[in-house]
């Protein structure tokens, strides 16, 4: 079966862009993390598409690794959010400006 | 011999820095070190074989495989290097004496740094490898920065930063040029590079002309000369500035004969401008340091004119002038230092009347002033005349215009001397201030004795320099060797 993966890559690119858009516009750290997840998943989609295109499993394996990595990042990210939440009353990333200039 | 000259001060510096000596011992050790260096330099001076080219050579591996070319520990002295080394030895000894007189705090560090400075300067004056030279050049700078930044006056930070930035602007361009030479010519040996690449020439020249400094690259000079402690100012003016002129002679001309010839008018023009500009500005300075500082600036520009006259007379005069002016500006600045120690200022409006009942002081200051203005018959007169002859041979108008510097020098140096010595005692001069003490004289007299000797027999120096031009290309000076 022939598959034209161009469209899949297109979707993946759009998802990547949406993830970035989320990162640019949202101030809740949770949603930032969700946006990161969207981006990582869009990468996965690209990898898997190309794996299909190339007819290799390597891309899928890579994607599997990425899933684990994404999960780990979520763990650490959520840990940081929780730890921050304990110390600060509001969770606005725009207010995380103790360190600046 | 050369290695001994480099290592001796370094060894003393390390010993003084490491051993827990008290002030007196540290001072004594420092003096011993510098005087031993003077003796060594004198021995080299005597043993120097006139006309035999590069001597006391040590050529050893340092970084055998740098990737472009081997970096060698290659040192030696020809006529030019010999006198620069001798000047360094004398200069540092005198400066150290002055610093001991002033009693700088943290003497161990201070003495060790002066000795480190000496070692670095000897290295840079003898290095025949570009990278090695650069190391000496920069270590000298580092030692100066620390000396200036720690023991300087109230404005030392700004002055040091300015000095550092100016210096590094030049020396980093030189570093890039050195890298380029390594890439392009596969050698770092000074004698083996002959290039026609203009930007390389300009990059090297930038480093040297900032150090000298050539007009208009002197933005660092006033603050550095005013804010440094006096022995550092004396060394800056007497020895360090000569490193710039030395670099032009040692590197810029031999390595880039073509560009040096093509671009000579840039340097001649700026040198002339600097000579007149410096002289004029010196004339309006409100303080004794300022006058000598700008006079030193003007003199360095004269030396640059001599170098870029690109003929034997100009070069001989320039080299001799480097020695002469080195000694005389050391003397002038160290004398100002003595005065500052007593009076607490070098502002003219607080000075005056030194000659009233202080014959020795007034005579010593007078001699410094007269030699600084190159009174005819003095050794500086000889070197200036040779420079001017060289300039004149290059171009009549240039020689004539540069000769005006003689008049201007008379104007500012006489003003300097009069403001210090003449009329009534200035308001800051302590009542019945005594004449110079023996210790103060001990710093000034050797320098003056050197000036007298060079005045009586300038050829004693000049024949050891023996500048000749190479057969082709013509602008390369062969220094210290009779062979063409």
């Amino acid at each position: 079966m022939e598959i034209n993966v161009q469209y899949f890559i297109g979707v993946s690119a759009i998802l990547f862009g949406i993830g970035l858009f989320g990162i640019f516009t949202r101030r809740s750290p949770l949603i930032l993390l969700l946006s990161v997840e969207i981006m990582l998943n869009s990468c996965n989609l690209a990898l898997i598409s190309f794996a299909r295109y190339n007819g290799q499993t390597a891309g899928q394996t890579f994607a599997l690794v990425v899933m684990a990595v994404a999960a780990s990042e979520v763990v650490i990210g959520l840990g940081l959010v929780v730890a921050t939440a304990r110390r600060k009353a509001d969770l606005d990333v725009d207010h995380l400006t103790t360190l600046r200039h | 011999m050369t290695v001994a000259l480099i290592v001796l001060p370094l060894a003393f510096a390390l010993a003084i820095a490491v051993l827990p000596l008290d002030r007196r011992l540290a001072s004594a050790a420092g003096l011993l070190g510098t005087l031993a260096e003077v003796v060594l330099a004198a021995v080299a001076l005597v043993r120097f074989d006139v006309g035999a080219g590069m001597q006391f050579v040590t050529d050893d591996r340092w970084i055998p495989d740098f990737g472009l070319a081997p970096v060698r520990f290659h040192v030696g002295m020809d006529g030019l290097g010999l006198f620069m080394v001798a000047l360094t030895a004398v200069g540092v000894a005198a400066a150290l004496g002055a610093s001991l007189l002033a009693g700088r705090d943290r003497p161990r560090a201070h003495v060790a740094l002066l000795l480190l400075l000496e070692s670095a300067m000897v290295l840079l004056f003898t290095a025949q490898d570009l990278v090695l030279f650069y190391v000496g050049w920069e270590v000298m700078m580092v030692a100066l920065f620390v000396l200036m930044g720690v023991w300087g006056g109230t404005g030392r930070r700004a002055a040091t930063l300015r000095f550092v930035i100016y210096s590094l602007l030049g020396s980093l361009s030189m570093l890039v040029a050195i890298a380029y030479i390594g890439v392009r010519y596969h050698t770092f040996e000074v004698g083996q590079v002959h290039s026609g690449v203009v930007w390389l020439f300009l990059a090297f020249a930038a480093a040297f002309c900032i150090k000298a400094p050539m007009f208009p690259l002197h933005g660092w000079l006033p603050a550095a000369y005013r804010e440094s402690s006096i022995e550092v100012t004396a060394l800056l003016s007497g020895v360090v500035s000569k490193a710039g002129a030395y670099g032009l002679l040692r590197f810029c001309l031999p390595m880039f004969p073509g560009p040096a010839h093509d671009w000579r008018w840039l340097f001649l023009g700026l040198g002339l401008a600097g000579l007149l500009y410096g002289s004029l500005v010196a004339f309006r300075q409100p303080d004794a340091r300022g006058v000598v500082a700008y006079s030193s600036f003007a003199q360095m520009n004269l030396i640059i004119i001599g170098i870029f006259a690109l003929n034997v007379n100009g070069a001989t005069g320039a080299i001799f002038q480097m020695v002469n002016h080195g000694v005389v500006s050391l003397a002038a600045f160290l004398l100002i230092g003595v005065l500052e120690l007593r009076v607490g200022t070098s502002l003219f409006r607080h000075l005056g009347g030194l000659a009233n009942g202080r014959p020795i002081a007034s005579t010593v200051f007078l001699i410094a002033a007269l030699w600084a203005l190159a009174v005819p018959g003095s050794s500086l007169f000889v070197s200036e005349i040779y420079i001017l002859i060289g300039a004149f041979q290059q171009n009549e108008w240039l020689g004539a215009a540069a000769a005006l510097g003689i008049v201007l020098a008379a104007m500012y140096m006489l003003r300097w001397y009069s403001a210090i010595a003449h009329e009534n005692d200035g308001d800051s001069v302590p009542a019945s201030m005594p004449d110079l003490h023996l210790r103060e004289l001990a710093i000034a007299l050797p320098l003056i004795a050197i000036l007298f000797v060079m005045t009586a027999w300038p050829y004693g120096v000049m024949k050891r320099i023996t500048v000749t031009t190479s057969a082709a290309p013509r602008v390369i000076f062969v220094i210290g060797s009779d062979s063409r």
Partner: protein, 633 residues
Amino acid sequence: METLAWICLFAPLAGMAALALLGSRPSREASAWLGTAAAAVAFVAAVGVFVELVGKDPSQRHFAYTAYTWAGSGSFKVGFSIWIDTLSVTEMLIVSGVGSLIVLYSVGYMHGDPKERRFFAYLDLFLFSMLLLVMSSNFVLLLAGWGLVGLSSYLLIGFWHEREAPVDAAKKAFVMNAIGDVGIAIAVFFMVRDLGTTDFGPVFQTAPQHWARGSTDANLVALGLLVGAVAKSAQIPLHTWLPDAMEGPTPVSALIHAATMVTAGVYLVARAHVLFANAPDVLDAVALLGVATLLMAGFIAIVQTDIKRIIAYSTMSQIGYMFTGVGVTAYAAGMYHLLAHAFFKALLFLCAGIVIHALAAEQDVRRMGGLKTVLPRTKVLMWVGVIALIGFFPLSKDEILAAALDDGTTTAWIVWVGGLAGAFLTGVYAVRLMRLTFYGEESEFAREHFHKEGNAEAPWTMFWPCVVLAVGTVLVGFLSLGFGFKNIFADWLSSTVSTIEPTTTDDLITTAISWAFGAAGGVLVWRAYESPERIAATRRRFAAVAPVAENLFYWNWLYERIAYRPAAAVSAFLYRFGERWVAWGSLDVVGGIARAASRAFSEVQTGVVRLYAGLLVVGAAGLAVFFIGKANL
């Protein structure tokens, strides 16, 4: 002879060195005598050289001795060498002879001055420098001597440095002389460039071949030397320092600013006559400058009130005569006037010094008057000097004018007419000087001083040198009488420089007119001062032109405006603007930009993490655009 010559040169230097090194150890008296002895030794040696030279055949009377190579580069060497010929020996004799007398005079004059020892050291230094100047055998060494006499002059003018005026005068003298040094230096540059040497022998031999007569280079060389000569000899336009130099002690004025140093310009022209002859236009300029100076200085001398300044302007005027002499190629005549002038002008100054010494340093002739009774011997000696000055005897001035008449060129005619006019002026100011100082009513001021002090005229160390100089003045007159008598002096110099031998007719005409003019001037002024009404009438008559002379022909005013003030303004401008805003400020500007950029760059880092990611993406997008742009589509 060689040994004697070197002794002559170095004896004063040794004297100076001894005085400097001994410091305050010897007594003041001893120091003074040491200084005198050094000068005397030089004189004796000079006489020895002279005697030996006289013994030689006239064609053999030139020798060059080199001690060692003084300076040298690969292409140009300078020997420390001396040149002995009749010209230089003449100068040596004048310098060491008159010098010895004046040093001797100073023993008395400077007695009691706290810096007496230093004074004698300076005098010895001057003698060495002057001897170096006249003995050197190349132009570089000559220039060294040239500068060193300037230095000595500086030191001695500013000897009383507690006051402002001497210090300023000293600086002015030095700087103006430095301008002259530059002139000679430029001539030296030409020689080195074109001839490869500055030794007299080769230069004079080869110069005419290298530089065509009247060519630009020949003119420039001569002009350079002329600038030096003009500055040293206080000729227009570099003359303004000489009157101010009178701030120095009187022996200094006598020695340096009358007898020896200021006439060095004449010596130089005579010495380098080959070069000047090669540049006829410049030689004319020498003569014309001389005429202009002698007239101007004569006018100014008439209205001066300071006894030393009167003599100083007289000196300037007399040197003008010497210039005209050498300018019309009457070298021997010019040198002869130099010799005679050395005696009579030193005499005049020393006598003036006695007057000043007696009046406790008062120098204003208006406060003198009637001193003939208290200083009778000085009066007599001074008359000898004045008679010589006006030109009655010796006939040195007349010889110059006669030579000019003989020459007959336009320039020579101007010289002749101007010189005779100058004779009139000389008569006026010289007699005025005597009239005001010694005659008339005894002034209040003089009376006070003399009754208080009640001292003798002068100590013997001051008096006898004057006598010797007076005798010398008269004797010198016989060296060259003119009117067809054997011209001993010209013959003596003939082996070195040529001269013009005027006819007896020329001599007669010139001397007659000159005497008449001089006498007329003297009589007129004497009569003018006979009553206050008459002097007032004279003043009124010249009210229109007097201010010009009183303001020194506005030279100082001019220099103030065209040289000093612009230089000071430029200097101040460069310091205030150039240094502050360009050399110094440029880095400030760069630093300011860096600081502003630093602010901008660091403030972008607002701490907002979204922005961080945003910039990352912007960078990524930019990089990707660049990369994709490079792709093969």
